[in-house]
């Protein structure tokens, strides 16, 4: 491969479509989730360790800092899962006919993810 190929990918100079932002956030949420796995495993371990551990994990949901960390992990999971399902649907041959369709499904996925994140917010902070 010619290493001296000219490259012009200064993303700051390019106006990106919604599909690009959706894709970049899919990557960001994926990297967050890589670390969130530790949080989920820690919660699972605590909840299964004993009756007392189970109650301690439940009590974490009342602590503001824990609430925020759990909320962030669940929001990243919800976003990543919804965008992942969009990919799976496209793999089946739906919604990949044109850029316009791609743009529309990206917006639909953003709205679906937003609704789920609102529900998660209510569950973590209010319930």
């Amino acid at each position: 491969m010619d290493k001296k190929r000219p490259v012009n990918l200064d993303l700051g100079t390019i106006r990106l479509p919604i599909t690009s932002y959706v894709s970049i956030l899919h990557r960001v949420s994926g990297v967050i989730l890589f670390f969130s796995v530790a949080i989920f495993l820690w919660l699972l371990e605590g909840s299964l360790s004993s009756e007392q551990g189970f109650e301690e994990v439940k009590a974490l949901f009342a602590n503001p800092l824990c609430q925020f960390i759990i909320w962030g992990s669940l929001a990243a999971l919800a976003y990543h899962a919804v965008m992942g399902v969009r990919h799976l649907i496209m793999d089946l041959g739906f919604g990949e006919d044109s850029f316009e369709t791609g743009r529309a499904t990206a917006w639909v996925a953003v709205v679906v993810a937003a609704v789920i994140i609102v529900l998660i917010t209510g569950w973590v902070f209010l319930w």
């Binding site: 490259v7 909840s47 009756e51 992942g84």
Partner: protein
């Protein structure tokens, strides 16, 4: 290429397929857990421990953590080989990326071992 040797399936098509299969497994687990928690609003320790220590659930959970490991490996590989590159951050990028990738692989394997320890320690 130095990027290919650290990919999970050693081929783009293989990685693509593994990412999809693992996505279906994780989706099924997520739907099951969310459904279970919604249908069991007053969840207690006895029921939760009984569910997770049953053989089918242990197999499902093990399959899910293996899917998480494979999916994370592929995804983190994509991100690292796209952004930790000589073009973007200079000549030390290759060494840095290998360190990140080995660290990522180590964490992934630790997650799997930890999960097995949790599931079979109930």
């Amino acid at each position: 290429m130095v990027t290919t040797v650290t990919s999970l399936g050693r081929s783009g098509l293989s990685d693509w397929l593994i990412a999809r299969v693992s996505a279906y497994v994780m989706s099924a687990y997520l739907i099951f857990i969310v459904g279970y928690l919604m249908l069991t609003p007053e969840l207690n320790y006895a029921d939760w421990a009984a569910l997770n220590s049953s053989l089918p659930m242990r197999m499902f959970s093990l399959l899910t953590i293996l899917s998480i490991a494979a999916h994370a490996w592929i995804g983190m590989w994509c991100v690292l080989t796209d952004y930790v590159t000589v073009r973007l951050i200079g000549p030390k990028a290759t060494a840095l990326r290998i360190i990140f990738q080995l660290g990522m692989i180590a964490i992934t394997l630790l997650y799997v071992i930890w999960a097995i320890d949790i599931l079979w320690g109930i």
